[in-house]
Amino acid sequence: MGDFLTIVMKELRHMLRDKGLLFGIIVVPLLLYPALGHLMQVGMQQAQEETKVVLVNFDTGNYGNLLIKSLEIAPNVTVTRIEAKDLQDAINKAKEKDYNVVVVIPGDFSTKIDANEKTNVEIYAIFKSVSTGIRESVSEGRINAVVNILNEYLAKLKIKNSASGDPEAILHPIEAQSYSVIKDRVVEVSPSIVVNLFSAQGLSIPIIILLMVMVVSQMAAGTMAMEKENKTLETLLTLPVNRLTIVAGKITGTAVMGLIASITYMIGMRYYMSSLIPSGDSEISLEALGLTITPKGAILFALVMFLTIAFALGLAMFLAIFAEDVQSANTVVSAGIMPLAFPVFVLMFTDIETLPAVFKYFLMALPFSHPILAFRAMLMGQYSSIYFSIIYLAILATVMLYITAKFFSTEKVLTAKLRFRRRT
């Protein structure tokens, strides 16, 4: 135990002083991500600012005034009426006062509405620079919303005057009511919302898990390759320390760094995401759909994650045996882990049960499918499949770690070599 701790501490001390590594696991997630999110937030906030409308009314009837009143009471819209000779004059005046939208009500506005003819309102968004135009489109949307409400209102008014029955029912005779059935329970949420929620999870969970696997694997291989590159491995292997203790110490040191990395990345991602999703928009949560995470489910999922990481670290250490320096270690690990991880991306878009049997069993054989399957099973409360994942991963991880430890106790760890650098 003493040796083990000594080695773990040395690993941690050495890694924590690696500037590149620290940049990757502290600066990038905790400073860069939130900074990026904040920048985007500032952009969005600017876009969400008040829509300042300059309004020119050439209409003399009632309906022009009705539209103006509606716009005035609409939220986030400030209306300023101006007098203008023509459109160009109005735009010039708007520019002067830093307004971004000009609305023009034509002279025959009320007359046409009274005559049951189609009329129009002209909306001019003034682009001041080549930008995303979010602000301008938001402004347009707000005015369109007002016009739509007014449209409905006027239509209902006309229906009331010329037909009998509920104007709403005449205007919208059919309305679709949609529900979703989840875990044999009917929830009053439309499928499109559920799909949005699922696909957000479906995309982000595999990416986060696989990213984490890659990061810790590279770190583990890095610590091994670093011993070779700095020529410290030979000394290390002649110390009065069991080889298994050395492997375990390195794996544990890396796992601790991996834990730190996953925490910092999660915090960073949260900040980043929360600055993108405007607050106040009442988001439907997984809980609202009846997909709750029980303590039992969480523990089982954590176990699956632990075994997946253990397998990945064992594999990475094994692969690193064949690399001579950090650079080639990165190459070998990518070459070794990518083929196992890549097919798993299929799960981002599909349910494993809908795949042909061959593909299904192929994916089930890959260790990195299991954390994703387990995450879904955890939400659905299907624990039996998680038990299967745990048993399967435990066997894989044990075999992998055993092979790695075996290789470490032979001279292969010193003599096995694969070169990946180009010959010049």
Binding site: K10, D18, E411
Partner: protein, 246 residues
Amino acid sequence: MAAIKVEDLEKDYGKVKALKGISFEVKEGEIFGLIGPNGAGKSTTLKILATLLSPTGGRAEIFGYDVVKRADDVRKLISYLPEEAGAYKNLTGWEYLTFMAKLYAKTGKSVEEMLELGREISDLGKRLNDKISTYSKGMTRKLLLARALMVKPKLAILDEPASGLDIVNAYVIRKNIKNFARSEGVTFFISSHNMLEVEFLCDRVALINEGVIVEIGTPRELKEKYGAENLEEVFMDIVENTLGGV
């Protein structure tokens, strides 16, 4: 009991036969030198004794323990300094020595004692508190040598201990090794190119060439046998003769 006992030791790297059946014995407390030209098989022999490589034939024992079957026991008795070695660059010299001392503490020595000795042998003074990445080649070598000796192993296996050191430092190191052998009873197994070094240091030497041991004896015996002024002449004589004989 012999500190080292090697019998018909062979090592093949694929097709390359690095050792073709060498045998020798080293007594406890001796400073034994293995000398020979480049590629003769010196480092290979040392690595097998240090439990890093396994022989393809023959056997080697350290204080009675087989280097393959009882590798864990052997590692408790030895301390090995590789020919080309480095230290953990992000640690300071002191942290490096502390790390090593802790791992050797279970062999019955106190960490403080080892560190005190390490500070003395390394001769790095205040620089021990600097990161190893700022050390020169010679400073790193002194640190590594200090690490190898401070643990007072029963057998120190040093592959060209003074390589990369200047004349002054090499001289100090040799003195240190000699003192250590006398005062602490540490057995030394050293490989070298430097005949002066070997003559000054070693009680006995073995000359190895192309994986075969061609001579064993004290420096004086060898000089007398070949009627040479110094070991360098003996060495050249043997190398030329073996090459001529092929």
